[in-house]
């Protein structure tokens, strides 16, 4: 061992100067980007760390140590909001993976009007989230909404999609999937198109069925696309706010509150220090959940 390390050391030492070769561009080229990054990102982040430790009225602030974090953890609905956030992220990212992959397989096969269907699937991604939220709020109205009126024609008594506390979060999650599945589909289409046709031909010669080709060729080879879709939609789900706010405002009561909506409500109420503390909590939560997830997904990919 020691011997190997000793013999290895000189090589590394020799390699360093090569890596550290002067860049052809002077260091001050970094300055514009560094200033923008520092002013618009680093400074506010550090300031928010400080303000999360204060009771802040915008006009003045009092240092109160970790009281905001204690208060935030005591928020009666924080625990519920945390659970809701995770449920929401899992549901939306799970459904986006399944539906996105299914749609992508369909839209890469030889079907009529393929280009048209691809744009139809992608179209909801382009629409404003708040607009989608308001539209679906109208569609999901318990008595006058088009969804329940349609169900009534079939003799089904539709539920109160957004006003039933047990259902509200799931209704919003479904709308999120409807709106976001187009993006997942596009990522999957790109992944599937990149798989060389040779593999499918080889599989066919070996006598594989369509289902087997999907299971043993398409699925493993579009893993990078799956990783991207999961990470993007999981982070999106964790910090989701706009759709929830447009559709239920966390209601009825607190039934569909997520961390982001809890934070926003603290901000709205003028508890600026408390809501900043909430943002720090959200930042930590996303980091704690997503960094291991990314590492795990990427490691599996590397091993194959």
């Amino acid at each position: 061992m020691t011997a190997i390390m000793q013999t290895g050391a000189p090589t590394a030492a020799k390699a360093v100067p090569v890596l550290k070769r002067r860049s052809p561009y002077p260091a001050w080229f970094f300055l514009p980007a560094a200033i923008i990054y520092g002013l618009l990102f680093l400074l506010p982040t550090l300031a928010s760390l400080y303000f999360s430790l204060t009771r802040w009225t915008l006009f003045n602030s009092t240092f109160i140590g970790l009281d905001n974090f204690a208060q935030f953890m005591r928020e009666p609905f924080l625990v519920k909001g945390l659970i809701n956030t995770v449920i929401y992220a899992v549901i939306t990212s799970g459904l986006k993976v399944v539906l996105g992959l299914a749609l992508a397989v369909l839209l890469t096969s030889q079907i009529a009007a393929r280009g048209y269907l691809r744009s139809v699937v992608f179209f909801p991604v382009l629409v404003s989230t708040v607009g989608v939220g308001i539209t679906f709020t109208v569609l999901m109205h318990p008595t006058q909404g088009m969804i329940n009126e349609g169900l009534a024609l079939l003799g089904i008594d539709g539920p109160g999609w957004l006003v039933d506390p047990n259902l509200a979060l799931f209704s919003v999650a479904l709308v999120d999937v409807w709106k976001g599945v187009g993006l997942a589909t596009v990522i999957y289409i790109a992944g599937i198109v990149a798989i060389p046709q040779d593999y499918y031909e080889a599989a066919r010669i070996d006598g594989s069925t369509i289902w087997q080709s999907f299971l043993y060729v398409t699925l493993p080879l579009c893993r990078p696309a799956t990783v991207t879709v999961i990470i993007l939609s999981f982070i999106g789900g964790l910090r989701t706010f706009d759709l929830i706010w447009a559709m239920t405002r966390g209601g009825p009561g607190f039934a569909s509150d997520t961390i982001a909506s809890v934070i926003y409500k603290q901000y709205q109420a003028g508890f600026y220090g408390l809501s900043t503390a909430g943002n720090v909590v959200l930042f930590v939560l996303i980091a704690v959940l997503v960094i291991p997830l990314t590492m795990w997904l990427n490691r599996r990919e590397g091993h194959e």
Partner: protein, 432 residues
């Protein structure tokens, strides 16, 4: 284009700009231009436009531009941000009472204590725009409001009901209305703020039973959960839900639906603040005579009285560069001509807080019903938010839960007490 000629062009352009600026400032030397920030909403904008029009007619050298902002807590943040960044309009309209205290009036608003028109402003209003140092910083904008219950007079007539003086009578009326196959109580949780009325409008009954509640509440000595009188508001909401009196779509209906339903007789009762009279007059003018109003009844007929909301104030921020003109406008709003302009634009919705202002004879029934509470022998008292700076921000979600059967009244009151603690700490009140 060479470098030199480009520079010359640039120079010429700058010179032209400078000349234009000089011209326009010369023009504004003759007339003063000011901005007036108000919350958006059709009726409020109409009133502001009428006020500005009448004021400009009398003061041709002053020109006022109306700016609008969102209402609710979004608007609160906007007002605080503009004050903190010294970019507030020359005059602005904002709530009085607890929200007024939260914008740091002492630091940001011009002291109006010694303006001559203050002599005609009623003391009950001055009290709610007084900064902690005892100076008055605003003038009343709009009429006093009551919190109570709108009722459909046609339904009352048809079923032979009388206006209830106690909660038991109210519930008995509700049962009869329900038995007749009609919606007895309208609730509109699509706009969550409308869910708070049963609790907030019960405050006259709270203070009738417990006169010191507000001060003990501010001092962290009295709680909603532990004072039976205060808990009643939450219980009343729970009772109406459990009796199955609500409209079918109460979870999704909005404020405007509520107004339509009570005006058109789709429902019998709608708990609301009387500013809604203006909105009903604007949207359903031909049904306005169908709508009556009464105070939220307590448990004792002898102490039946109205919970009163003070109107918004108008304020001048210290950053204004047109102080004299701004003061002139505020004086106009706080004058009899000001009241008349407001009535012209929005109709009368209640008594004004300026001495000498009168209401026209043909006010709608909902306003007529409200006046006895203000007359001799009538009983009224301010809502809690004018007696205490503390109002918990989550009340509307909590009352939605009670009104939807998700949470019991006792549990909700305890949760609200917890919510209130944050506000008290934010305001750095002693004893919290």
């Amino acid at each position: 284009m060479t470098k030199t000629s480009r520079r010359t062009t640039l120079f010429g352009f700058t010179a032209a700009l400078l000349a234009m600026t000089a011209l326009s400032s010369a023009a504004s030397a003759q007339s003063i231009s000011m901005t007036y920030l108000i919350p958006s909403g059709a009726d409020g904008v109409a009133v502001a436009e009428e006020l500005v029009k009448s004021f400009e007619a009398a003061n041709p050298d002053i020109n006022i531009d109306i700016e609008t902002r969102p209402g609710g807590s979004e608007g609160d943040n906007l007002v605080k941000t503009r004050l903190a960044t010294q970019s507030m309009a020359d005059i602005f309209r904002y709530n009085s009472g607890s929200l007024f205290q939260a914008i740091n009036p002492q630091q940001f608003l011009v002291d109006l204590t010694n303006e001559p028109w203050q002599a005609d402003v009623q003391a009950s209003f001055k009290q709610v725009v007084t900064a902690p140092d005892g100076t008055v910083r605003g003038a009343p904008m709009g009429a006093a409001m009551g919190g109570g219950i709108y009722y459909n007079r046609a339904i009352y007539e048809e079923l032979g009901l009388t206006v209830p003086k106690t909660w038991a009578e109210f519930m008995a009326n509700n049962e009869k209305i329900k038995a007749a196959g009609k919606v007895a109580v309208i609730q509109t949780y699509g706009d969550t703020w409308t869910s708070q009325l049963f609790v907030l409008a019960d405050f006259y009954n709270v203070s009738a039973a417990d006169p010191d509640f507000a001060s003990r509440y501010t001092a962290n000595e009295a709680k909603f959960a532990t004072e039976p009188a205060a808990l009643r508001g939450f219980e009343k909401l729970q009772e109406t839900f459990e009796a199955g009196l609500f409209n079918e779509d109460f979870g999704a209906a909005k404020y405007d639906d509520g107004l339509r339903m009570v005006a058109a007789g789709e429902g019998a009762h709608y708990p609301m603040l009387t500013f809604a009279t203006t909105a009903i007059a604007a949207s359903y003018p031909d049904m306005l005579d169908n709508v009556g109003f009464f105070a939220q009844p307590g448990d004792d007929a002898a102490s039946n009285g109205l919970t009163v909301w003070m109107p918004d104030g108008i304020y001048i921020p210290q950053t204004t560069s047109n102080l004299d003109a701004a003061k002139k406008f505020v004086a106009f709003v706080a004058s009899v001509e000001g009241c008349e302009a407001q009535t012209r634009a929005g109709g009368a919705s209640g008594p004004y807080l300026i001495n000498g202002c009168t209401l026209p004879d043909d006010v709608p029934p909902a306003v007529t019903d409200m006046l006895p509470y203000f007359a001799e022998g009538g009983q009224n008292g301010p809502a809690l938010e004018f007696l205490s700076p503390i109002k918990g921000p989550a009340l509307e979600q909590i009352t939605v839960e009670v009104g939807s059967g998700i949470r019991t009244a006792a549990d909700a009151a305890a949760l609200y007490d917890e919510d209130v603690r944050k506000q008290a700490q934010q305001l750095a009140l002693p004893g919290w």
